[in-house]
């Protein structure tokens, strides 16, 4: 990828996304952490645009910002005030070390490998993605829909209170 615009956009997005992701780690308030998470999601969506996957970028915004982040906020509100700090367990230090090692290994591999790259943009339209989903990948697609249904049912079953179950048993 050449070009001044792309380069600038990449570095800005990279800084933005990683700082926001670090914010998730360091924010003391769980709700602030969620808002940092939202910023990370938006940054990732920006990367998707940069990688010419506009449809997925929009899907990312709709699903992550519009649904998952809101869901997380809702879950936080349903738990008490005392559970809203974002502190670490005693695994904080080992986890940090592990993460740093992992990142180091990844980066070493990434820069060591000899990537075969195409320079021209494959420029995939949203319709191609749709076609791929219902032709080549139709079985995983159906399994994903079953998974979503199962998750829906499971989530509803999990949060039902005993009174509601008693009401349904009577009905």
């Amino acid at each position: 990828m050449e070009g001044f615009g792309v380069t600038v956009a990449f570095w800005i997005l990279a800084a933005f996304t990683l700082v926001a992701a670090a914010g998730v780690m360091v924010a003391r308030n769980l709700l602030h952490a969620v808002l940092f998470l939202v910023l990370t999601f938006l940054g990732i969506a920006g990367f998707f645009v940069l990688l010419s996957a506009e449809f997925l970028a929009m899907a990312q915004v709709i699903i992550y910002v519009g649904a998952i982040a809101v869901l997380i906020l809702f879950a936080i509100l349903l738990t008490p005030r005392s559970g809203r700090q974002n502190s670490e367990t005693r695994f904080a230090l080992p986890a940090t070390l592990l993460a740093i090692c992992l990142a180091a290994v990844f980066i070493f591999v990434i820069f060591d490998a000899d990537w075969s790259e195409v320079e021209e943009d494959p420029s995939l339209a949203a319709s191609e993605l749709g076609e791929a989903l219902v032709s080549t990948w139709v079985v995983p697609f159906e399994i994903a829909s079953v998974l979503l249904t199962a998750a829906l049912v499971g989530a509803i079953m999990l949060v039902r209170s005993p009174e509601e179950e008693a009401e349904d048993a009577l009905a």
Binding site: T7, L37, Q60, F74, R84, F106, V118, P122
Partner: protein, 104 residues
């Protein structure tokens, strides 16, 4: 300066590491979930980078995988949050350190 696949993969790797750090070290169950979401996002970024840059007959495959990851992430978030709420209702805590009924 040109931006290549390494740059995107590096961002993805760092993001994954941060996600791992969050997921392993947070005390709150919702915090752990956020770490997992970060990791999934890093994976998505990596998949899309491969889809854009690799020499392939069918570059759309990478995007297809991202769609599945998004689906799984949504399902996972719904179930995990339901679990968190359910655990809180029964045990009055969402602290992963204290959810240790199975410990003898």
């Amino acid at each position: 300066m040109s931006i290549g696949i390494e740059h995107f993969l590096t961002v993805g790797a760092i993001l994954f590491a941060i996600g791992l750090m969050v997921a392993l070290s947070k005390r709150n169950a919702v915090g752990v979930l956020m770490g997992v979401e970060l990791m999934l996002n890093a994976v998505n970024l990596t998949l899309l980078a491969f889809s854009r840059f690799s020499v392939s007959e069918r570059p759309i495959t990478g995007q297809t995988f991202v769609v599945f990851v998004l689906t799984v992430a949504a399902a996972e978030a719904a179930v995990a949050l339901a679990l968190a709420v359910s655990v809180y209702r029964n045990r009055e805590t969402v602290d992963v350190d204290q959810i240790n009924l199975l410990k003898s």
